[in-house]
Every structure is written in structure tokens, then in C-alpha cells.
Subunit: 281 residues, 2 copies
């Protein structure tokens, strides 16, 4: 079941391991991606990831001729035979002539690549993580908010702000609201309700965020999605981060202040494992 742990690339419409130097993904970030776990040869929650991917493609008018079947097949081919790995699916508008305008008949680029599983994630899921607040802010752009597009320089800049001391950095929006981590969504408990920031201005609407909201509602917990002022962070006593790879990471330290890993956090975490949304250890 195990294969050698060097990244393998399955590239549709290009030589393996490469894309055209004229690809609009490279020139403009004109595309979208999904990152998801592979467990025992199967991409986890692939349907939900494909739903989001195709919503994004539709929203940006990218790859109108790309079928869900084709992406699904590429994902399954990349995942086949892998016990535990990270699968990344990337779709761009394709290779085209110079300029922001594009020919709607461009052949999209589809990449399905895998990389080794980050084993550290399980330890953080148990013991919790130290989360800081980044100086770099997320620009407010409703036209792109929620989408997992390829314009990620803000995250690259934010990720440079820490080394091993934090496990994740929270990002505020330009107008001072708490939005998400560089690679995760934020939840916190307030007055018995589970709160996660609205993502109508910026941020990525995570698949695991959706799963958590669903689990919480199923369990009878009240959930709230709204804009979160920065000062809320100082009042937070219980918080966690989510994404498709890490599952749920309890926050044990937030912006320099110790938190207790709380009962709601452990309840949601248990529900995610139960529903097999999360790849443990």
C-alpha cells in the first residue's frame, strides 16, 4: 500500500511534472486549488472539495468545458495506492496569449499531485497549538472572498512572520476583523454558541469549516457566522482551528494568552472523527 514518499505529479494536458510557461495560473494566479487528505488510496471528502472547486471555477468563469468526472478521475488516479498522503488538485484557465483578456476556448490545466502526509498534525490535534496574530492583513475583496484561488501572496507574506514558536497565524482583514488563519479557519465559543468569522470580504471558506458547522448543528449546538472584531480575541476562552488536512487543532495559546482546551472543542473533534471527516495520526 505504501509508495515512495516523493511528490508525484499527474498532469493533464502537459508533460508530467511541468506546465506551460504561458500558463495563466503562473502569470496571473488565474485558477483555483483544493488540498485534501488521502487515506487508504481514497481522497477524503472528495465530493465536497469538487463542489467547492466547481463553484469557484463557475464564479471566475474558468474551465467551463472541464467536467467533474475528469477531475474526479485525476484525483482518484493520483490517490491510488497511497496509504496516507496530501492530494492537491489545481485547475487554471490554461496557457494563453499575453494579457488579462482570454479566449474562452482555452484548454484548462488540471494538476493532481500528492505529497507526504505531515505527521506532526496529529500531535497538534491532541495537545493544541500556539496561535499568533499576523501583521499582514487580508485585503477586502468580495469578488474573490471564500474562493480557494491561486492569488496567495498575502498568505506567503503572513507565513514569513513566524518560525517554530507558533503553529499558525491569524489574519485580520484590512478593516480590522478577525478572518482566519493563513491556512485554516477559526472557531471560538461565545455564550454557549460556536462562532466562526463571516467570509464575505476575504478568507477561504474551508470544507472542514462546513463540516464543523454541520456537526455542531447536528449535535444541537448553536452556531453563529458573523464579522468578528479584533477585541473578541482577548475575550475568547475556547477556540480551535480547522482545515481539511489538520482536521481540528485546539488552540492552547492565543495571541500570547493561555487558553484551556474546552469541552465544545473536544466534542466537535470527536464528531469529526466519528464521521470520518478527519484523518487521525
Amino acid at each position: 500500500m505504501r509508495r515512495r514518499v516523493t511528490p508525484r505529479r499527474v498532469v493533464a494536458g502537459a508533460r508530467p511534472g511541468s506546465v506551460s510557461s504561458l500558463d495563466r495560473g503562473l502569470h496571473y494566479g488565474d485558477g483555483l486549488f483544493e488540498t485534501l487528505p488521502v487515506r487508504n488510496g481514497k481522497p477524503v471528502l472528495l465530493e465536497a472539495h469538487l463542489d467547492r472547486l466547481f463553484r469557484g471555477l463557475d464564479s471566475l468563469g474558468i474551465a467551463p468545458q472541464l467536467t467533474r468526472k475528469k477531475v474526479e478521475t485525476a484525483a482518484h488516479r493520483a490517490a491510488a495506492g497511497l496509504e496516507k498522503a496530501v492530494l492537491k488538485i489545481l485547475v487554471t484557465r490554461g496557457a494563453g496569449a499575453r494579457g488579462y483578456a482570454y479566449n474562452p476556448d482555452l484548454k484548462p490545466t488540471l494538476l493532481a499531485t500528492w505529497s507526504p502526509w505531515p505527521e506532526i498534525a496529529a500531535e497538534h490535534a491532541r495537545a493544541g497549538v500556539n496561535v499568533g496574530v499576523c501583521h499582514v492583513r487580508l485585503a477586502v475583496q468580495p469578488a474573490l472572498a471564500g474562493l480557494k484561488h491561486l492569488n496567495r501572496l498575502e498568505q506567503v507574506l503572513a507565513r514569513r512572520e513566524w518560525q517554530a514558536d507558533w503553529q499558525e497565524g491569524l489574519m485580520l482583514s484590512a478593516d480590522g476583523h478577525v478572518v482566519c488563519g493563513t491556512q485554516s479557519n477559526l472557531f471560538f465559543v461565545r455564550d454557549g454558541a460556536l462562532v466562526t468569522p463571516a467570509l464575505t470580504e476575504c478568507g477561504v471558506a474551508g470544507i472542514m469549516r462546513d463540516m464543523v458547522l454541520r456537526c455542531a448543528r447536528d449535535a444541537g449546538l448553536s452556531t453563529k457566522i458573523h464579522r468578528v472584531a479584533e477585541r473578541e480575541l482577548a475575550r475568547t476562552k475556547e477556540a480551535f482551528l480547522t482545515n481539511s488536512l489538520i482536521g481540528l487543532w485546539p488552540v492552547r495559546r492565543l495571541d500570547g494568552r493561555d487558553l484551556t482546551i474546552g469541552p465544545v472543542t473536544r466534542q466537535i473533534q470527536a464528531l469529526l472523527y466519528e464521521k470520518a471527516c478527519v484523518v487521525s495520526g
Copy 2:
């Protein structure tokens, strides 16, 4: 002197015509670019473009080991033998493992590619252009403002807003200021002074914008750089657009209102030709 008019790619550190499918330029837009004219085998204003490119690389911590000499050589090689063409230089942080964090020793990707000269530009320089205002706005991001980076989805979305009726679309910032065109900078005349929007929140600081400001000052014209409210557009009687390829395009119609191509516009245009900053016809 003429070569066949199909794009040629000179790629350093990769197979010609392709880049690694793990390139951070593709995955995150983690890079910068320059676009400039080639005339009689020489890249026009290459020094100024290299200055901006290296300021950007420095600002984002990209390719610290890349030498100016190497980019210069690639540019000259790509331009050699071309009578008139467009040269694009693109530098990314290189191909790396998944994730926003990066190894500072990554080998940067350097691309120097050329494409055919857009002959239509000269006609617009003579007769002026019709310029509309885009609905898509530019997000405010001081950490990236002014840089010609590879996160260009906003421009791609804005460029979809028109067909042949406009020649360019102006973009406002999220907070309602006039910033620039999708691929050009804006100048207008107000009370005898030449005004161009400040680019501290968003927008690209064009090389031709710099040249125009310099020409205007040399000619004794007063220049002003400040934030420009949207309502200023309705009061504007004389305006023009600039970029390295088009040089200067007078605006003959602005947001549905006819303008007269004015004396300041023609004076600046003549100065740019005189200084050989602009490739005519």
C-alpha cells in the same frame, strides 16, 4: 532583423517552454513580472524595469541570490534579433514543497519570453481611447501596493467587463478612490497641474508613469500625486493613460463623457518620443 512572430520562451532552470508544476509562481503567484517593448533587438528602458523588478523581489524576499546580470542577460538574449516585440520577464520564488512557508535557498525561476507587438497601440496613441470604469474594485493591500506581482485575478475579472467598446477600464480601490487602469496608469490635468493617483494602497507603479512625471517636471509642469476621489473623474477635462507598451494613450472618452485631447497630453507625448521612451507605430 525579423524573426517569426510566434512566442519564444527562454527559460532559465527549466525545460524550454515549461516550468515545474511545483513552481510557487503557479501555486501562490509568488513572483513578479515586467513587460517592456523591444525595438531593434534592444529591450527599451531595461534599466528602469530591472530597478523595479529588484525592488519588488527585495520587498517580497524573493530570489535573494538572483543577480541583476543574470536577468539582464536573459532579457538581451530574448530580445536579440527582434525588430519590434513585447518582452516579458517573470521571476518566481522557484519550485518548492507544498505550503506557504518556503526554503530561502530555493532556486528562483526566471522566464524571459517575447510575443508579437500589438500594432493597434499606435492608432490609439494618435486618436485617443474610450475608457470606462470597472465594477470590480482593487482591494487595499499596502504590503503589495505598487508591485508588479503575479496575483492578478482582480485585473482578469475587471478585463472581462468589456469587449471592443472600451480600450481600457479604470479601477477604483475598495474605498472608492480612482487608482489606475487594468494595465495602465492614469494622469489628468487639474488647475494646470498634472495629477496621477497615489499607489500606496493598491495599483502598479508603472515605469512609464515615472517617465511621465520626470518629463513633466523637466518641462516645468507642476505634478501632483495624491488619492483621487471618484467624483474627480466627472470634473476631468483632459486625461491620458500610460504603460511601457502603449506609451501614452490620450483619453477621448471617459466614463461615457467626451473629452478633448489637450495640449498637456500632446506635450508629454512628444517629450516621451523625444526621449525614446516610447516605441512608435
